[in-house]
Amino acid sequence: MTKLTRRQAFGTVAGAAAGIAVAGIAVASANATPDKAGRFTTAATGTAAGTKHHHTAVPAPFSEVFEGRRIQGIPGDANAKSEAHGQHHTSATGYRVLIDGRELHVMQKPDSSWSSVMNHYQTFPDPHTAARAAVTSLMGADLVPHTPTA
């Protein structure tokens, strides 16, 4: 049954959308309770703490002005509870990236490479490279809160 643990975490979301077709997932998640949002982040924490994924050490922090934008990388605690970050959807390692103070959602993939919501079909060696790529993609625009389950 252990293989079902993580599936159950989002299977409930799918169950809530059952019968509403694919579009229903947006409706279901719009009604998400804090519990549901917490479960999403808890599942991510489980990935980092699990035995399947051997993530490398958390990357170093950084802070610089790149192409006129302040970019920052803030290492987190991989085992931190979601509540510690409030509504922030951190990566599986808890590492956070900010562009002009706004959160860039980044995530580490199973092969230890990194990706971000701005550049989802590329991978980067570290969050710093992902942050620079996102600045280039933004063309001066601002990030908006990334809340796919809210």
């Binding site: 293989k3 993580r6 599936r7 975490a9 989002f10 299977g11 979301v13 799918a14 169950g15 959308a17 059952a18 019968g19 077709a21 694919v22 579009a23 229903g24 997932i25 947006a26 409706v27 279901a28 998640s29 999403f40 599942a43 991510a44 489980g46 990935t47 699990g50 399947k52 994924h53 959807h89 990566s91 599986a92 959602h105 995530m107 993939k109 199973p110 092969d111 990706s115 919501v117 701005m118 550049n119 989802h120 079909y121 590329q122 991978t123 993609s137 933004l138 063309m139 001066g140 625009a141 601002d142 990030l143 908006v144 990334h146 796919p148 389950t149």
Partner: protein
């Protein structure tokens, strides 16, 4: 019967019918629910380590079902419409008919990557970007900016020649047809490379904001059908069962309650390719 055609072969009337149906699905609010569903699935795939829509074997059946649902919405507007496919190995320049003003419009302007022509230009008033990861309200592209070339026919043929659908560990970098086609086995290759070549929203988790998403994935789906025809004795889908964090042949794929990879293996009850 739904027949999906190469966009290069569409008549002017077929292009107009497709565009009009897409605009109407957008106007009634249904289109953005697809964008939101894709963003959610991508976030879950990335963060939970359970690979359903991306990075695993169900990449192909998940997107097949996603396109069928979208095509059904188009057909509620106009029963004659189907999703065209964009063969990016052949129509591989910014001058391709897919980017003409009577279909999807062209690349973005230098200032902010904003698409300025065609039915989906912000200035045309019918294509606000509502489900976003950044503050831009307009469709953005920068064709051939991030990577200068699209995957070649030779690369596609090499992928099609692989007799194994997918293999352990059934994720990024796995050997086999699926990961090779998805492009997760190499940096900026194949399906992933096409997203990056278009740039703008197509490069982000809200990629269905650009209607070319459907034409791109229709071609990816056709390649899956082509692969199956080339390898009639290969297992149509792997893994068959018992695989942690991966959708097995007869497991349901969220968010659909009854859709399994098995139920998506044969596309012909839903549509054919011309």
């Amino acid at each position: 019967m739904t027949v999906r055609k190469n966009q290069a072969n569409l008549t002017a009337a077929e292009k107009k019918a497709f565009v009009d149906a897409v605009l109407e699905v957008k106007r009634i609010g249904v289109y953005d629910e697809f964008v939101a569903a894709h963003r959610l699935r991508f976030a879950l795939d990335m963060n939970t380590g359970v690979y359903v829509g991306h990075f695993g074997p169900s990449f192909l059946p998940w997107h097949r079902k996603f396109l069928i649902d979208f095509e059904n919405e188009l057909q509620k507007i106009d029963a004659s419409v189907s999703i065209p496919y964009w063969d990016w190995t052949a129509d591989n320049t910014v001058a391709s008919s897919v980017w003409a003003p009577d279909l999807l419009g062209g690349t973005g302007r230098p200032l902010d990557d904003q698409v300025m022509d065609g039915p989906f230009a912000y200035s045309a008033g019918k294509w606000p970007i509502n489900i976003q990861v950044d503050s831009r309200p307009f469709l953005a592209r920068n064709l051939a900016y991030r990577v200068p070339t699209l995957p070649s026919r030779a690369e596609v043929d090499a992928a099609l020649a692989i007799p194994t659908y997918d293999s352990a560990p059934f994720r990024d970098g796995s050997a086999g047809f699926r990961a090779t086609l998805e492009g997760s086995a190499g940096y900026l290759s194949m399906h992933n490379r096409v997203h990056s070549w278009v740039w703008g929203q197509m490069e982000s988790s809200v990629s269905p904001n650009d209607p070319v998403f459907w034409l791109h994935h229709s071609f990816v789906d056709k390649l899956w059908a082509d692969w199956h025809a080339l390898h009639p004795t290969s297992a149509e889908y792997l893994p068959a069962g018992g695989t942690v964090d991966v959708i097995d042949l007869n497991e349901t794929m969220p968010p659909w309650p009854n859709t399994t990879p098995q139920s998506m293996l044969d596309h012909t009850p839903f549509y054919t390719y011309a």
